[in-house]
């Protein structure tokens, strides 16, 4: 599974430009799926199973996109000014490396600051791609880039850019690979444009019209020095979301997930995330409303070039997702 994770996280595919990662996923899953389609917004919708009398139509969603940068101006000396795609924060950028979709690499530099204790604001940062003039700069306004950072295997812990949310993509792919029998009609949706406002999942959910929706995404942790006050830690199992700032998970879905974890002997944590939301929000609010929840992979340093997850949490997430899909479900 680590080899798959490495391929996924080292692919450059910011919101709206998910094709490279979609092609990668499609190449792997097409033999395991009963039906595959790509919708108008680029969501990859993969069906497994037929609805039996005891089954439901269940939608799972993990987003393919990652945060990134987009060129807004190339100045006369060939420096590239940029805007952001999704929740990029300026203190994660200076000295970092990026790669454009067209293959061009660059480093992020900044204007000289009067006060070195301050952080560069976006308008004082630029990308240097090694050009010497506007004319020889291989970047044009509108070109898109993402962090470039190799996958790092620390044994128990894995580090990479775009663990958010490629780790969940890997969890869903591995679940699909292992899932042999299900009473449900399960739609594995690899969604687009989550980082800019759960846009892909909004239209995918309308199309799938699920009876239950579960997002798989990363969540923050409270287990680092003087960090966020939050009762989620790496290594204590996947987290079952109770609430975030965009959704209150359906309590019946929360119970179903927690009961299933306990019966299967899989460790889990309950999660309340005070800032952020997931594709589950889009599923919950589609059409006439859908019971929705979210399985979260605890992750440190979210939206930096080095997002860290625990590999056991990842494997336990696969186990829990598989257990959820293998048996009939009555929400109560």
């Amino acid at each position: 599974m680590k080899a798959l994770i490495q391929k996924l996280v080292e692919t450059i595919a910011p919101s709206g430009y998910e094709m490279p990662v979609r092609e990668l996923i499609l190449g792997e899953v097409k033999d395991w799926a009963d039906e595959v389609r790509v919708d108008a917004l680029g969501n990859l919708v993969v069906r497994k199973g037929q609805k039996s009398p005891s089954g439901k139509r269940i939608m799972l969603a993990a987003h393919m996109d990652e945060i990134g940068l987009i060129a807004t101006h190339v100045d006369e000396n060939g420096f590239v000014r940029f805007s952001t795609i999704g929740g990029v924060r300026p203190h994660t950028l200076y000295g970092g490396r990026v790669r454009f979709l067209n293959g061009v690499a660059g480093v992020i530099g900044g204007e000289r600051l009067e006060n070195m204790e301050r952080v560069h604001s976006f308008d004082k940062l630029f990308i240097d791609v090694g050009a010497t003039s506007k004319e020889d700069c291989p970047v044009r306004v509108g070109d898109v880039a993402a962090f470039e950072r190799p996958f790092l295997d620390l044994g128990k812990r894995l580090v990479a850019k775009s663990m958010d949310d490629r780790i969940s993509v890997a969890v869903m792919m591995e679940t699909l690979r292992q899932l042999k029998n299900t009473p449900h009609e399960v739609y594995f949706v690899f969604s687009t444009q989550e980082e800019v406002g759960v846009r892909g999942a909004t239209t995918a959910a309308f199309g799938v019209d699920p009876e239950i929706g579960i997002a798989v995404d990363v969540t923050a942790t409270g287990d680092t020095p003087k960090g966020l006050k939050m009762a989620v830690a790496l290594g204590k199992g996947p987290a079952i979301k109770v609430k975030d700032s965009g959704m209150i998970a359906d309590p019946r879905v929360v119970r179903w997930m927690a009961d299933t974890a306990e019966q299967a002997g899989i460790p889990y944590q309950l999660e309340i995330l005070e800032g952020g939301s997931t594709d589950a929000r889009a599923m919950q609010l589609t059409r006439a409303g859908v019971p929705a929840g979210c399985l979260s992979i605890p992750c440190r340093y979210i939206h930096t070039p080095s997002e860290m997850v625990d590999f056991e949490d990842v494997q336990n997430a696969v186990g829990l997702l598989k257990a959820l899909l293998e048996s009939p479900v009555e929400l109560k």
């Binding site: 919101s15 709206g16 430009y17 998910e18 094709m19 919708d39 108008a40 917004l41 680029g42 969501n43 987009i70 060129a71 807004t72 101006h73 100045d75 006369e76 000014r81 805007s83 795609i85 308008d123 044009r140 306004v141 509108g142 444009q193 800019v196 846009r199 892909g200 909004t202 239209t203 995918a204 309308f206 199309g207």
Partner: protein, 359 residues
């Protein structure tokens, strides 16, 4: 399909008259009837279907000449930023709220038109004779300002009625000056396309309401049309004047005279890359000038459209305008003509094969 024909649009006084009527009409978000009346009058002889939906959008269809055409939605918003009367005070003054995004610093001392009858009002302020230098350092807030209708007329309007800037449309050499060019330039472009449509597509024109307060009309319009593809036609700021300190201006958004602005990304939408490429190819092959709007904030009707139902591929094209959301916008007539031309030829060359291309 290679086409070298010029666009079928001959710009004459007819178009300028239409732009003038549209720009001078007052249609602040939520009360778009004046512009809706002009739109209906203009398109009814040409459109195959016209209806006004529950929110007040005008939805018009012009059928294609062939079989199984692509259904293409074009959206331009009828509404403009302005004011809503909140409470009458003594002497024909009204407290008001701003509708849509207006910098309060541009309000002071501006004439406005109030209510259905376009009653003349003034957003007044204490004159320089009676203010201190310290007072003049701070911008006045909306709470400190009133619309003054001149006593008697205060009784002819009610709380809840709208007011808009009073600027009259003018031509200034190659340029147009008016209050509501955002987005009457787009409205006028859609009217022209209904009159002279490319024959290959089913044209679904949405003249939308309430764009300036959150893309509200376009969402339901797209739900109703359920198109194969959509293009929002709008106006976008050109902040292209030189920087005061001689530094290179790196945040111009667009440039006046640079041609239609094609969107890659704004705060509400990531344009479909295939549609971006299609418009760029069209412009380059037809010799139509164009520019890429600098990616960044802002939003157009495309932001609401693309998330409807199972998703709709979208792109936006805007006419660059200086001084957007102020009483006096400035645009180039040639940019508007080139926008029309890009839309016409872009639609004419659109085929379903585009959507089997890689993104």
């Amino acid at each position: 399909m290679e086409h070298t024909e010029p666009s079928p649009f001959e710009i004459s006084n007819d178009q300028l008259d239409l732009l003038e009527r549209l720009s001078n009409a007052v249609a602040v978000s939520g009360d778009e009837r004046e512009v809706r009346a002009i739109v209906l009058e203009e398109i009814q002889p040409f459109a195959d279907e016209v209806r006004v939906d529950a929110l007040g959008n005008v939805l018009a269809v012009r059928h294609a000449q062939g079989e199984n055409p692509l259904r293409v939605m074009l959206a331009a918003h009828m509404d403009e930023v302005g004011f809503i009367l909140v409470e009458e005070e003594e002497g024909g003054w009204y407290r008001f709220e701003v509708v849509g995004g207006i910098d309060p610093r541009v309000l002071v001392g501006k004439p406005v038109l109030v209510g259905k009858e376009h009653l003349p009002g003034v957003i007044g302020t204490r004159p320089i004779h009676l203010t201190t230098p310290d007072e003049r350092k701070n911008a006045l807030t909306v709470e400190q300002l009133r619309i003054d209708l001149g006593n008697e007329n205060g009784k002819k309007v009610k709380t809840g009625e709208r007011a808009g800037f009073a600027t009259r449309f003018r031509q200034a050499g190659p340029s147009l000056v008016g209050k509501a060019l955002d987005d009457r330039l787009g409205v006028a472009a859609l009217i022209e396309l209904i009159k002279n449509p490319p024959p290959n597509v089913e044209l679904q024109a949405a003249f939308t309401v309430q764009e300036e307060i959150g893309l509200r009309g376009a969402g339901v319009a797209a739900y109703a049309f359920n198109p194969d593809v959509a293009i929002a036609v709008d106006a976008t700021p050109a902040n292209d004047l030189p920087a005061w300190d001689g530094e290179e201006n790196t945040r111009y958004n667009t440039r006046l005279g640079g041609g239609p602005a094609i969107y890659v990304a704004d705060a509400a939408t990531l344009s479909d890359p295939r549609l971006i490429r299609h418009l760029i190819r069209t412009a380059e092959e037809m010799g139509i000038p164009y520019q890429i709007r600098q990616p960044g904030g802002g939003g157009t009707d495309a932001g609401a459209i693309h998330k409807q139902r199972e998703g709709i591929p979208v792109v936006s094209v805007s006419v660059p305008v200086r001084y957007a959301h102020t009483p006096a916008l400035q645009a180039r007539l040639l940019d508007w003509e080139n926008t029309l031309s890009l839309l016409y030829h872009g639609l004419e060359r659109l085929s379903p094969q585009l959507f089997s291309e890689d993104r």
